[in-house]
Subunit: 480 residues, 2 copies
């Protein structure tokens, strides 16, 4: 279905010819050289992804007892059923297929100061669900099984830098949640390690400064989800630039100031935690795993090559055959979750008392581990709400869709994890609201960007989508 | 089975005649008056708890499809089965009955400055599983259903003080875990609210200072688990006493100093979080809910009045009939989990570089939500290990059991939650180890007391047992 053509997307061309030439950031590789390198990696690595019937999956079967879609080895992941009960007034109870993957993988970025400038070791990596083949990935994406092998072995390059016995300085190390709509209780370990070793540069890897990565974050479908979540976790103090570097763009200064923790916040940290505790206590989220075949009761249909919902909404479960030249295994088949339409993540922001605040909500998704997490002001797949009565449409959805360009501070399309999701893309928007924006009700809260990043060392506070937004927002501080 | 006799236990007599008379702490009630009041409450409130066959439970039945023990209303809790897979070398895979109660209750303490001194509104409350009838409870123990009622109503006294619209100053508000061995993913909201209102004093309630509660924490089975967990969460800065108050007992000074955050810690906070992340990534804990009747495959036997394990270990599930004069409902029946023997929680502590450190481990229990939590150096039911090969006995268990009295800083028996557990008691020990104590392996970590309390605002870091120890340890700072 997808075949790498080797052509450079137009947006990359614009980046190459425009901002990219302006500065080198003291980077080991200029942006022009990066794009040439990335283009060369795209040409060098052939891959093909084709949809196939479930019956053609090799090693995957529908379990005869439960109907769950499982791998013969019991490893990787499975597609099972989840029954959810909430106290929402609209569609409060449902069942759905869900990805179950109880083990914790490692998403690691290795960093190193080169000529005094922090560089990240990034990878050009294909995932079968990627809309465009290669994207920029962390140094390491490893399963628990790979991580637990005593000898790093052939499997995962650079994994040894993330083991307790051979680590450099740990800059961040915590468990972070992934998409609660599609995963049951899924988390990965996000880890950033600084090394002083001489690190050999393997094929498909390159050193990029944080400034360069921020520029890439302004491009559609360039920096993958695994990178974005780890990048969001790097403490802002380490990543610069500081306020002096940014010239006279006042929104940029406001973002930096809000990230830095200077300036007065509307709520103190205890109030934010108490509000979230109230939301988690008040919202009901009762999850019960059921056999995949049980979701048929709620309108899910089982075809030869797709499991989909009769309303044409939500997502499909499909199967693909993959051929790739630069992966550990050259060919394989696997199931993927394919959303029916793009999602929208819109963060409304406002300067209050001179400090930029973001309007967050506590969102409860089907597969969440901790009832509710903080997320963007609007977080939904708008297509799921086309026929829903106005009073049950997500608050601020129509506001965000109608926002004038003059108030839009960020507008970028990013892909979600291509190892599990097929062509899953979300539009990430940051909208600065007008000064007389009506005060939200108590399901929403104004926080500074620093208050949000302060919660990242602890698990299950910010959704992966809000973390993507936080990473992308930092790119606004990199105007070159 | 238990009948309140009205007699004052000997340990209370000692407290009345000994330390209690020494100081009044500027309290509204002297300790002598407290004990008289508590004794009067015991005499005034009659209650009786009798074991009954499961068939005599009213409103509870074994579901014909699953064998789960459930309430007809679908409310309260249920006893179901849990299948657990870990990567432990000994008994790494098992199934067991488990209490399932997906909703979050409220454990709230209302505090008020009276003549400048912080007082807590505490309750003398009976729970059917209590070994001794009445214990000191928080102001409020409420279910989600009670909390969600718009009008506080007759159900739960003082609940209105803990609602968002009528709160005073929130001193703490977070979700805390409960016993992972017996509960599936259970948490309660721990909340402390300070009011300036005139609060009417209801029967069975009294105002106690934190100093008075700390003295009561030195008594066996006096302060219930719900109180202990909330008390542990009160920020140390609010609770005093400070170092000057404590005279010349050097261990007391060491506890206060370690709680205060002064003095050098062996690990920085980032290292603690990274170590715990490593433990959570490394330890395997795969939980699968199964029908209660499935646990028969692993040696659980179903009798007319007990579900027990053929090895005579772990716990029983039993049924009781309760009659009580001071509860919302005067008589009811319910299942309870009855541990086969007391547990042991021993915290080894050591002064390192002049700062008191506690030796904690990351423990994974069957029903934990977040894979592993920090707990005491020794955390087990020793009786479960009588026939286990020496190399698989819990590390430091024999060390703790053999510790000379001269090194024991705290030794107290506390009851666990009497609303779910029958005569569940744990021995809580704090042992100061000798200066040449051998360095532990990497499954253990030295932390200051301040570092542990700093994690409490976030969920699922400290087990309820470690929180009990932390609350009790503060009582060592109250020598009068």
């Amino acid at each position: 279905m997808f075949d790498s053509s080797g052509a450079i997307p137009a947006v990359l061309e614009a980046e190459r010819n425009g901002r990219a030439a302006a500065a080198t950031d003291n980077a080991v590789m200029s942006m022009t050289d990066f794009h040439s390198w990335f283009h060369a990696r795209t040409r060098a690595n052939r891959f093909q992804v084709d949809r196939i019937p479930f019956a053609d999956l090799a090693g995957w079967d529908f379990d005869p007892d439960t109907g769950n879609l499982v791998h013969d080895s019991g490893r990787f992941f499975s597609i099972e059923g989840l029954r959810v009960r909430t106290d929402r007034p609209w569609a409060g109870e449902w069942s759905q297929p869900i990805i179950v993957q109880p083990e914790i993988g490692v998403l690691g970025i290795l960093v190193k100061r080169i000529d005094g400038v922090l560089h990240c070791l990034m990878q050009a990596k294909m995932e079968p669900g990627n809309i465009n083949g290669l994207q920029i990935s962390p140094t390491v994406q490893a399963t628990r099984s790979n991580y637990m092998k005593v000898h790093g072995g052939a499997g995962t390059k650079y994994l040894e830098y993330f083991r307790p016995d051979s680590r450099g300085r740990v800059l961040f190390d915590g468990l972070q949640s992934e998409q609660g709509s599609w995963f049951l209780h899924k988390r990965n370990r996000n880890i950033v390690v600084e090394t002083e070793d001489d690190v050999p540069l393997e094929e498909d890897f390159c050193w990029l400064t944080l400034g360069q990565i921020r520029r890439l974050l302004l491009l559609d479908h360039m920096v993958n989800m695994d990178s974005r979540t780890v990048l969001a976790c790097i403490p802002p103090a380490l990543t610069g630039p500081n306020a002096q570097d940014t010239g006279d763009d006042s929104f940029t200064r406001a973002v930096l100031r809000s990230l830095s923790g200077h300036g007065r916040a509307v709520c103190d940290p205890g109030t934010i935690l108490s509000w979230l505790t109230e939301m988690r206590s008040r919202q009901e989220l009762v999850q019960r795993r059921v056999s995949l075949r049980h979701v048929a009761e709620d309108g899910w249909r089982f075809g030869v090559d797709v499991i989909d919902h009769r309303d044409g909404k939500y997502f499909d479960v499909i199967a693909v055959a993959v051929q790739a030249s630069n992966r550990e295994v050259a060919a394989w088949t696997q199931p993927l979750v394919a959303p029916k339409q793009p999602g929208l993540l819109a963060l409304l922001v406002k300067r209050i008392g001179g400090t930029l605040h973001a309007l967050v909500q506590a969102r409860s998704d089907a597969g969440m581990l901790n009832i509710a997490e903080l997320t963007a002001t609007v977080h939904c797949q708008p297509g799921n709400y086309v026929d829903v009565p106005a009073e049950h449409r997500p608050r601020y959805l129509d506001y965000a869709l109608a926002a004038p360009a003059s108030r839009v501070r960020l507008d970028v399309l990013h892909s979600e994890e291509g190892g599990r999701f097929y062509h899953a893309q979300n539009r990430y928007l940051v909208i600065e609201v007008e000064p007389d924006f009506a005060e939200p009700d108590d399901r929403y809260l104004w926080t500074t960007l620093h208050q949000l990043t302060s919660l990242l060392p602890h698990s299950n506070y910010l959704t992966v989508e809000l973390r993507s937004l936080m990473a992308s927002m930092r790119s606004l501080t990199q105007r070159l």
